[in-house]
Amino acid sequence: MSRTTVTWTARLTILLAAVLLGIGLVAPCMRIVPHFGAYDSWVRLLRPSMGRTSEYSVLSGILTMIEQRHLGVGLVLLFFSCVFPTLKLAVMAWGVESLARGKRTGPLLQMAHHTGKFSMLDVLVLALIVIAIKGLPGSTEVQLGWGVWMFATSVVLSLLASILLHRLEQTRAADSSAIAA
């Protein structure tokens, strides 16, 4: 694959990842269908509000958590699920453009490489929430929404972009060595 092809693939991958990340943050990712075991009918009769199906996106779930005064956990999740992936994609976009123009990438991109492993943390958190709620008694169901797939695809694309960026860096280093020689 030529350097130009890799550059364009990286650009498109980052832009697509950004679009999917935006959708993934606000699209329905989790639908909680409460059940109350043998008492299901009674609970629905006496407290219909408890039987309502709730649908959350990543962002609305985090904001609900903050509203319910779980500020610390909420802010950590907000950073690692929303702010950090966006900044990481922005830094990678910066790096791709810099490398495309034969520039050095600088320490910011190195940091993005090192912190890349944290990008899976949000997926892990989602998985933990699902497992935790699936463990509730009364056959309460947690159904995953299409937002999860958007979000997960964005994470995979950002990993792919990271690989492409690394390849661009290697190409640039090889070019620099050839010029020096």
């Binding site: 199906t53 962002l59 609305s60």
Partner: protein, 203 residues
């Protein structure tokens, strides 16, 4: 040209942030309440009824229209509201009659009804099952219940609703049924409760 060339990485990075922010902001703005989770408020997502399963059919509420379908008053020669009466039929049998309600446009019933006089004559003991203000039906494919609601007048009774409801169309929990436009009812609320719910323990 060189200024544009040097600014390209920053523009690209800003574009990425802009894409994410505009999608999130746009969707958030489109929602009526930005900080409320997207709850499906209309849906109580009750479980579908199970075939060959026994359920209590509890008529919780009926609401009469202000006048009869032909525009006449409910009370002949007066201005009183309708006296609500309701029957439930199943498999060709009238299986339950709800206690009458007098001069009400909206009539409601509670799930439990205790006959104090009978309670005293029975020695102060009550079988909880017998206090349930609803009949039992068994859900089978293709079967229906018929709910008949009428205004009981001294001289004539006016049928406000005679509606057949397929059991398979009902859900466990609350069912808000819209009566036909030609009927005298504006609203009908029916609650289905699984018989296997351990009733005495719950009470």
């Amino acid at each position: 040209m060189s200024v544009t060339h040097s600014k390209a990485p920053a523009i690209m990075a800003a574009a990425v942030i802009g894409i994410v922010a505009s999608i999130v902001g746009g969707v958030w703005w489109l929602r009526a309440s930005p900080t409320t989770p997207a709850e499906t408020i209309a849906s109580t997502a009750p479980a579908a009824v199970l075939l060959d399963h026994d359920y209590y059919v509890f008529v919780r509420l009926v609401e009469f229209k202000p006048t009869k379908p032909n525009g006449a008053r409910w009370d002949r020669g007066g201005d009183s509201g309708p006296d609500a009466n309701a029957h439930i039929s199943w498999r060709g049998n009238r299986i339950f009659k709800l206690p009458s309600r007098t001069d009400q446009l909206i009539s409601t019933w509670d799930l439990f009804r205790v006959d104090i006089a009978k309670l005293i004559t029975d020695g102060g003991k009550i079988d909880i099952e017998s206090a349930i203000n609803a009949p039992l039906v068994r859900v089978a494919r293709g079967e229906a219940i018929t709910i008949e609601v009428w205004d009981n007048d001294a001289m004539f009774s006016d049928v406000a609703l005679n509606m057949s409801i397929p059991l398979a169309d009902l859900r466990e929990g609350r069912n808000d049924i819209t009566p036909p436009a030609s009927s005298g009812l504006a609203r009908l609320q029916v609650i289905l409760i699984d018989r296997q719910t351990p009733l005495p323990r719950r009470i």
